[in-house]
């Protein structure tokens, strides 16, 4: 819990084009996760506006939040997988809770598992998989609604460098399919290797915004 006077981000003004791959970097506590929370309407801005695909979500009604979240795939550092469900069931869960028919679930889930390279491991449980594989399950789950935007908040934070690279490669491929990817990270090596747009946050404000930028703090 923060006090009401605490500022997460302020005076942030940015525009991300459809299909763009953007890295948001900054030290801990600079407002990266707040930015993610604003995008998925977990937090509301006290002033200003957030527009996604022409939809102003600054004052979004509670009932519309699920509609927004089906258009934004979210990947977190701590995976958030259900341990008692298999890979297939974890991915299918995202469709089940939105009322998708079983026949359609059976069609879509294998497709996204194929995209993330886990077709062979659909019957495994999260505990039987490596961190990298678990993160790929999360990405698969985020993709089932064919989101316009994929937000990845420190997706490589719990992974070794090899698995981290695989995840970033996967995100790049997803971006190439036309999905806008917002990568929140403080992994310098990864950001520098991407040669994509980099937005640097400092004290809740944008300190730098560079095309083909580098991780500079």
């Amino acid at each position: 819990m923060y006090s009401p006077t605490t500022v997460g981000v302020k005076s942030v003004n940015l525009h991300i084009k459809p299909g763009e791959f953007v890295s948001v970097v900054g030290q801990s506590g600079t407002g990266k996760t707040t930015l993610v929370k604003l995008l998925i309407a977990e937090e509301r801005p006290t002033s200003g506006s957030i527009v996604i695909g022409g939809w102003d979500i600054s004052h979004i009604r509670g009932g519309d939040v699920p509609i927004l979240r089906r258009q934004i795939g979210v990947v977190f550092q701590d995976f958030k997988l259900l341990p008692k469900k298999t890979v297939f069931e974890n991915v299918a869960f995202a469709l089940e809770v939105c009322g998708t028919k079983k026949s359609r679930i059976k069609k879509i889930v294998p497709q996204v598992l194929k995209i993330v390279g886990l077709s062979e491991k659909a019957g495994r449980y999260p505990r039987q998989m490596s961190g990298g594989e678990q993160q790929r399950v999360v990405i698969a789950r985020a993709l089932v609604h064919r989101p316009k935007i994929l937000v990845a908040d420190e997706p490589t934070g719990n992974l070794d460098s090899i698995n981290a690279r695989e995840i970033i490669e996967l995100l790049k491929r997803i971006s190439e399919f036309g999905t806008t990817v917002l990568l929140v990270t403080h992994n310098r090596e990864i950001v520098n290797s991407l040669h994509k747009r980099v937005i640097t946050l400092d004290g809740g404000m944008i300190s730098q915004d560079n095309e083909e930028g580098k991780y500079i703090l």
């Binding site: 927004l68 979240r69 809770v97 009322g99």
Partner: protein, 304 residues
């Protein structure tokens, strides 16, 4: 929509089984609540039966003077039958009254001797009046106080069971008040238990709920399984209650009948005839109670 509805039910069942012991405790408390309410139902039925039994025995006997003609008595009878409060009026003629008197006092030599000395029938005709309700008797007695009738009437005997009825009503209302307090206590406990059960269920499923919200499940989809769980508790509690109450009343009925001098009170028949009403109302009330409790717990502990 149907797909989502079926999934909500599936998730509700999962909630129930994953917190089995907590569910069991919740249902036990709900069953105790229902038992206390059904004891009230039984007591109310028995009290009404007792009042009806006593009321059936209440009547007014009007003794006419011996010189009053049979036609005059029958005129009074016709008048009384015309009153909406009067259910029935039985005419007992002079001879019949004497026969009854003699058979009643055949062992009493003095009375029999006195009758012999008189040499003629000293008794007049009698009308035995039954009212629809015991509350109607004062009105009927008042009607008979009219000078038009008093000149014929020797005496009136109001077999006063009013006091007995009053006492039965008094005892049954005290028992019912106690039952209502007991039920209120159980209802309060049940509400707290249901709130706590849903709270624990929310806590147990916090990961799942978080993911549901993250991937775009609608608010009602997140909430509905907990509400359905509440309805499921109500259904099971009513079912268990039925399974307990029927054997109990079947076993108790002979004792209840014995208490009412062997008269068949029809306790089981009463439950059979009102099965849908009693259990249906209790199920609906309990389901409503659980939904309200669950809604409170969801509002308090589940931010969606």
């Amino acid at each position: 929509m149907i797909v989502s509805f079926l999934r909500v039910i599936k998730f509700a069942f999962q909630n129930f089984w994953r917190n089995f012991w907590l569910s069991l405790i919740t249902i036990t408390i709900l069953v105790l609540t229902l038992i206390s309410i059904n004891i009230l139902v039984v007591l109310s039925f028995l009290a009404q039966t007792a009042v009806d039994t006593v009321e059936q025995k209440v009547d007014v006997s009007v003794y006419f003077k011996s010189e009053v003609s049979e036609d005059a008595v029958k005129d009074v009878r016709s008048y009384l039958l015309g009153l909406s409060q009067v259910k029935d009026v039985k005419y007992v003629g002079r001879e019949e009254a004497l026969e009854e008197f003699e058979s009643l006092h055949e062992d009493n030599e003095e009375i029999m001797a006195s009758l012999g000395e008189l040499g003629e029938n000293p008794l007049g005709a009698t009308l035995i009046i039954k009212a629809h309700s015991s509350a109607d008797y004062p009105f009927i007695l008042e009607t008979l106080d009219n000078p038009q009738f008093t000149k014929f009437i020797e005496d009136k005997n109001y077999d006063d069971h009013e006091e007995v009825i009053g006492r039965i009503n008094d005892i049954s209302s005290r028992v019912q008040n106690f039952g209502i307090i007991l039920s209120a206590v159980f209802v309060t406990i049940a509400v707290l238990i249901v709130i706590n059960t849903i709270r624990v269920a929310i806590y147990t499923h916090r990961e799942e709920i978080g993911i549901m919200k993250l991937v775009g499940a609608s608010n009602w989809f997140v909430r509905a399984p907990f509400l359905v769980e509440g309805i499921f508790y109500a259904f099971l509690a009513t079912f268990v209650l039925g399974a307990l109450i029927y054997p109990t009343i079947i076993l108790a009925e002979p004792y209840v009948n014995a208490f009412f001098d062997g008269q068949n009170v029809g306790l089981v028949d009463y439950f059979n005839n009102n099965l849908a009403f009693i259990f249906g109302t209790e199920f609906l009330a309990l389901a409503f109670l659980n939904i309200v409790s669950a809604s409170f717990a969801l509002g308090r502990y589940l931010k969606v």
